[in-house]
Symmetry: C2
Subunit: 409 residues, 2 copies
């Protein structure tokens, strides 16, 4: 039994992720979209289905450099055909007369009457005659349809090209361009206020007095959020004074879509985020997850608020497990982490009542090696990792070779 300090059992990862989804759902409303040119939409999510306005390919064309033919002209043993003028690229093709073969380059239009292409290397001679010279070519029998890319064989006009919620990467933007589309409607970027807290935390670059540590959370989360397509407003590090933190959150809340804090959410004597959120509609609870168990969630002055724990690895795991997948689900961006099955290179232990996340290096042979221990302060080990390893609730130990789900970072 894992209990919060309210005496309730700890929440599952799934239940907390759903709570984050509900918190942010209003931010994907119809007024929160914008229309952008394709390149500006890279990394955004589509707000609506896009049907294909044209066939792709737009017309039947050749898959090879060769000769366009009427397949019925060529008997089993092959035949000689009269070579006519080459088919120009980018222009309508004239009809192919019976008994003739037209030089055609890859992508050029199959002429009316033709139904197959014989690659030039199967022709005798295996080259194109000079345009304008009289020539014949010997060609082998060829089935109808050979090396023809039919109109609409990739997608037909009217079919769904991209669905609402699709992440727009190079392949998706390339498809839109191929369809002749130049602008798309996408979800607006969210702006996040990111506030790190703690009397012991100082800005990198300042002197490190005894008992102090440099703030890694702000840099780590700002970078992760920017990678995920968020605009980030960084607040100065807050001390453990609740009044100072309350004033800072109150000042910036009207300018942002979401507030994220780090630290000050667990059961210690001086939990500044808990204290600063007193009187607000914010709940502090425990998720059955290691690291990243203590979490805050609610609204601060009406603005969606999530409070992550204070250790760097806990922050990143909280972002990866709750915020990032919910953003992808609601706004189509960022793209989901690729999830794969891998085999542990070494054994591990895990608290059976919690979903443990370990950091590791995934190798191309399907093995995954642990980087560092379970400790949530191990930021050097995190920097050596390319994967998050999932150890589900109910598992207390796994042997080397055991299969685990891994998210590639």
């Amino acid at each position: 039994m894992h209990r919060t300090d309210n005496g309730h059992q700890a929440r599952s990862v799934e239940v907390h992720r759903e709570a984050v989804r509900e918190l942010l759902a209003d931010l994907s409303g119809p007024g929160r979209t914008e229309e952008l040119p394709l390149q500006a939409a890279l990394g955004r999510g589509l707000t609506a289905d896009i049907p294909a306005p044209v066939d792709l390919p737009p017309f039947a064309n050749s898959q090879m450099d060769g000769f366009a033919v009427r397949s019925s002209d060529i008997p089993d043993g092959g035949t000689d055909l009269t070579v006519v003028a080459p088919i120009p690229a980018g222009a309508p093709a004239a009809a192919l007369e019976p008994g003739t073969a037209a030089p055609i380059m890859t992508g050029a239009m199959i002429p009316p009457g033709a139904d197959a292409v014989v690659p030039v290397e199967r022709a005798v001679p295996d080259s194109f005659p000079e345009p304008g010279t009289a020539a014949t070519v010997r060609l082998p029998a060829t089935a109808s349809g050979t090396y023809v890319r039919y109109a609409g064989s990739d997608i037909r006009a009217g079919e769904l090209a991209l669905a609402a919620g699709t992440f727009l990467g190079p392949g998706q933007l390339g498809l839109l361009a191929a369809l002749g589309i130049t602008r798309v409607t996408v979800h607006r970027k969210l702006t996040v206020l990111l506030a790190t807290t703690g009397d012991e935390v100082v800005e990198p670059g300042s002197p490190l007095e005894p008992g102090k540590i440099y703030d890694a959370n702000g840099t780590l989360l700002e970078a992760a959020m920017r990678q995920a397509g968020l605009d980030v407003l960084r607040a100065a590090i807050s001390t453990d004074s609740p009044d100072e933190l309350t004033a800072m959150l109150r000042e910036h809340a009207p300018q942002v879509d979401l507030i994220v804090t780090t630290g000050g959410v667990s059961k210690g004597a001086y939990e500044v985020v808990r204290q600063a959120a007193a009187g607000q509609d914010v709940e502090f609870l425990h998720v059955a997850m290691q690291p990243g168990g203590p979490q805050g969630i609610g609204r601060f002055d009406g603005v969606p608020f999530v409070g992550f724990p204070g250790n760097p690895v806990s922050c990143l795991v909280s972002f990866e497990m709750f915020l990032r997948p919910v953003l992808g689900e609601l706004f189509g961006s960022p793209a989901p982490r690729p999830a794969v099955l891998a085999r542990l290179a070494e054994p591990l232990e895990s608290p059976a009542g919690k979903h443990q996340l370990r950091r590791g290096t995934l190798f191309p042979d399907g093995k995954v090696r642990l980087e560092g221990g379970a400790g949530s302060h191990l930021v050097h080990a995190l920097a050596n990792s390319n994967a998050l390893i999932h150890v589900p609730v109910g598992t207390s130990a796994l042997a080397a070779g055991a299969e685990v789900e891994v998210w590639t970072l």
Copy 2:
């Protein structure tokens, strides 16, 4: 036997990738670096090793909210200790006197003399007394070192924090911040001239006359290049006039680090890139790869030049197989594609003499489904894919369930 039109055997993927590496190696020289603040360095590659300037953690600190103790004070059956003043966060801790226990929060400094932490939930009573009140607490025997994060246990001062060539993502920047580092020296961004060619190719948004297609390559490759950290200079689509293309390349070459063209590199009668590069130190050859076999490589007016084939899927495969991994190797950016083993959901065929790349959807259960056929024009199928499936040379067919290497896109 796969032969180029020079009569040479087709190059392997590995040999061509090495040629691209040699072509670009000069661009990673010592004059081509810049020093940036951490957030501006997101997505860049480090030019030099960075040793840790401090220990992480900088001082021994508590892993739990609890009581700092001298473990030798507590016999096997437990004992009562006098509770002294709590250890403040972010300040030096006073020495712990024998026979006492000091309330300590996660991350606070272990006081001199103490060597273990007893979590508050194992104490009787299981809460902290009000500061300033006289109190004792009953604590169980605890091994030395319990719940202590020792100074330098993540990384010690002087050890290698990040190696030259490391891609700087959130975890790596977070480590640098934790070490107090605020600026890093990284490889400069490369600028690429991207030129698409073809009489049949028109800009998306213009009318589509018979025989014409919209340019997908420019959008697809620009997006892929920007995702990979390149600055992209887009040239207007060139017709199949070699003079026009030569003039355009000549005009822009002095402003860029690399020229990439699409189309006009194969054996057809009208190969504009081949013709425009006549007299330049550019070789046109065939790589034993499907799609993407025809390739150009060399220098145009001294500027590194690669010529990709004209179909969108061939372009993306060429970028993913040659340019992207070489950029990562030479400049530390982009990060390598995660490579995993997966099982085919369906059978496939492949030309035994070529390294085939198929597009697919990788599922979390380790299965991968083909998206579309082998055709290099299938840009809708590409847009539905999240993975590249590798079918190596020497394989002509694979059954459903066969294990394949997959790169997640």
